[in-house]
């Protein structure tokens, strides 16, 4: 970076502010995708101050993920800060929805702007703009419709050029604002997907010969396995790499209200603590309701595989827990962090993230469509009234009528002579009057 000469103290201060700005950007973007309405209180100086004088309450898990994504570096020319927002289905298909980027340009502010308060205030305005704009993109509304059965929203943080092709056709790109500093110009942009349709992805011919969900019973992608979760214990030096360059694929699932305290998580520990929830004792595996019928049949296979692969994840079996899972042996590993914090998520599922985007399964909830339960009276009533009731004249069963006929025939046979005499009598009665 070029720019006018800064004293070492100013340079250090600017670097510090840039680092904190980066962290706050991630917090603002990710918190806006939790599916919750933000509300923070204004405070007087006596009540305490916050960075950039904005009530952005840091969430520890996001902070940790940001530190890993930054890896001790700052955004630089050609290495923008990227916050990627993804949508993921229970079938572990994923779709990149948004790319929030803080780009750095060489051009700089030549005016004698002071780091504090001038640059500090400019960064504050940028964060306010980010807060405002995160509410207007389609993913904001989507984040309120998250559910374990439909989709959840995840995020990735990294330094590096993002792949804009993953946003599908006709993505929208917008510039939120910029901060010019004596060293560089930071430009905050967002690119987002406009087509969130349920199209099946184009697959290779090899895939087409197989049914769409051919990976359904792969142990490593089964929800059962994923709920077991895992945390391999990432080495700190390993974690210092940017996420997309890392050989690990890690996922963090969060599923709890924000107001519960988050517990710090040790990456070197095999015990995984929970994002955004208090540390409750883990519940037994049997507690989970399988999302896929008979998925528990796969349990033994999973355990065998886990024993074999020592670096395979081990899990957390808290259904309301954040689970970090890492999958070994994936060449292009990536770190994806779930943001779903809907309190209704009592369990979350995850699986291996495939490279190609897949279609989105949206749960179809038809009115009155349930097959059981007490709330179906209306449905039963409808079915009852759908056709006209049977006529009463058909109420008697045919068996009764047939038995009556048999009895009548027998009585007729028994009285056959009587009938013959009657006929003869008619004949004889008529004979005297005959012309003969």
């Amino acid at each position: 970076m070029s720019g006018r000469h800064l004293s070492s103290e100013d340079r250090r201060e600017l670097a510090r502010l840039t680092k904190i700005l980066s962290q706050k950007i991630v917090q603002v973007v990710v918190q806006s995708r939790l599916g919750e309405k933000a509300i923070t209180k204004s405070k007087t100086p006596a009540q305490g101050s916050e960075w950039f004088n904005l009530g952005i309450e840091d969430i520890h898990e996001i902070q940790q993920e940001t530190k890993r994504g930054l890896g001790g570096h700052l955004p630089d020319v050609g290495k923008p800060l990227v916050v990627e927002i993804l949508l993921r289905t229970p079938e572990s298909d994923s779709l990149v929805l948004e790319l929030w980027t803080l780009n750095i340009l060489d051009s700089c502010d030549t005016s004698p702007a002071r780091i504090n308060p001038t640059i500090y205030n400019r960064m504050t305005v940028l964060l306010k703009s980010l807060l405002a704009v995160t509410r207007i993109t389609p993913a904001y509304k989507l984040s309120f419709r998250q559910g374990a059965d439909s989709f959840i929203i995840c995020y990735r943080v990294y330094l590096g050029e993002p792949n804009f092709d993953c946003l599908g056709e006709n993505p929208v790109q917008a510039r939120l604002g910029q901060v010019t500093t004596p060293e560089s110009t930071m430009i905050m942009c967002v690119s987002y997907r406009t087509q969130i349709t349920l199209n099946p992805p184009s697959r290779s011919p090899a895939h087409e010969t197989i049914m769409l969900k051919s990976d359904h019973f792969k142990p490593e992608v089964s929800p059962r396995h994923c709920r077991r979760g895992a945390d391999r214990g990432t080495d700190s030096s390993e974690a210092a790499q940017t996420s997309d360059e890392s050989q690990d694929a890690a996922r963090l699932f969060t599923a709890s209200p924000l107001d519960q305290p988050s517990t710090p998580r040790s990456r070197t520990s095999r015990k995984v603590s929970v994002a955004f929830v208090d540390a409750k004792p883990a519940k037994p595996d049997g507690f989970f309701l399988p999302d896929i019928p008979f998925s528990n049949l796969l349990t033994s296979t999973i355990e065998v595989q886990q024993d074999k692969k020592t670096d395979k994840a081990e899990g957390v079996s808290n259904p309301s827990a954040a689970v970090t899972q890492e999958k070994a042996g994936q060449d292009t590993g990536e770190r994806v962090v779930m943001t779903a914090s809907d309190g209704s998520h009592k369990s979350t599922t995850s699986a291996q993230l495939r490279d190609e985007a897949d279609f989105v399964m949206v749960e179809l909830k038809t009115p009155f469509g349930g097959t059981c339960g007490t709330g179906n009276d209306l449905g039963a009533f409808y079915r009852e009234c759908r056709s006209a009731p049977p006529l009463r004249m058909f109420a008697d069963t045919p068996e009764d009528e047939i038995s009556d006929l048999t009895e009548q025939l027998l009585s007729f046979e028994a009285n056959m002579e009587e009938y013959d005499e009657l006929v003869k009598s008619f004949h004889s009665d008529n004979s005297p009057n005959s012309p003969d």
Partner: protein
């Protein structure tokens, strides 16, 4: 982190940064459309409360914020967590909304949010107000025939507000002119210190409801008048 030193710039730019945004909305959407943009502007143009340690060193409080969902527009905006500021803006904006929704009112009007700073005049002249940023919303009220059209319009106005909001944020980040933080004695010349929880730049809201005219001509005339007044 909190202590900052005042860096007082004596002379504001005489030419206020003037922005005009145009919006087509249904009558019942006027309040929310105006409030969403004005609140966004005031969120950017407010700071935490100052607490002076000495004449030019002060600590700054924190601005809380909250999401607001519109009822008649598919739109969510962020505003300062300050009920008093909210009440104040609503009171100012409601006059315009009532005027433009009046039975015999013309179908368009404009409402402006003007940031200004005061300058103490020499005796016998009073303190003058010098605008440094003016945001004018030209509102055209459309009438819709049925509920289906209302549903479409609900989304369309949401998209339209989103575009305007991006324009606002891009403009606000260009740092054309912002009054510098004042010394303690002059804080009331820059900021409205009446609110207990936030400290917006001095602002006022004014409006006019008129028959449709050429917007650029109107703006030019208003600007001329304003500049003339500012110079006197």
């Amino acid at each position: 982190m909190t202590s900052q030193t005042a860096d007082f710039k004596t002379k504001p730019d005489m030419n206020a940064n003037t922005q005009v945004l145009e919006l087509d909305v249904e009558g019942r959407q006027v309040d929310e459309a105006v409030l969403s943009l004005f609140h966004t502007l005031l969120f950017h143009r407010s700071t935490g409360k100052f607490h002076y340690k000495n004449d030019d060193t002060y600590a700054v409080g924190t601005i809380g914020f909250q999401d607001v969902d519109c009822d008649f527009i598919d739109f969510t905006y962020v505003r300062c967590s300050s009920d008093e500021l909210d009440r104040s803006i609503k009171r100012e904006v409601s006059g315009f909304c009532e005027a433009i929704r009046a039975p015999d009112a013309p179908s368009s009007g404009q409402v402006a949010l003007e940031f200004y700073q005061r300058k103490r005049g020499r005796w016998p002249f009073a303190t003058e107000s010098i605008p440094w940023e003016v945001w004018t919303l030209r509102i055209n009220v459309v009438s819709l025939n049925n509920e289906h059209e209302r549903q479409i319009w609900r989304e369309r106005v949401g998209d339209s507000l989103g575009e305007r909001l991006l324009h606002i944020t891009d403009t606000l980040n260009r740092h054309d002119y912002i009054p510098s933080p004042p010394n303690q004695a002059e804080i009331d010349l820059i900021y409205d210190t009446a609110y207990p929880d936030v400290q917006p730049f001095l602002f006022k809201i004014n409006y006019s409801v008129s028959a449709p005219t050429n917007p650029s001509a109107t703006t030019t005339i208003k600007k001329l008048i304003r500049d003339t007044l500012a110079l006197t």
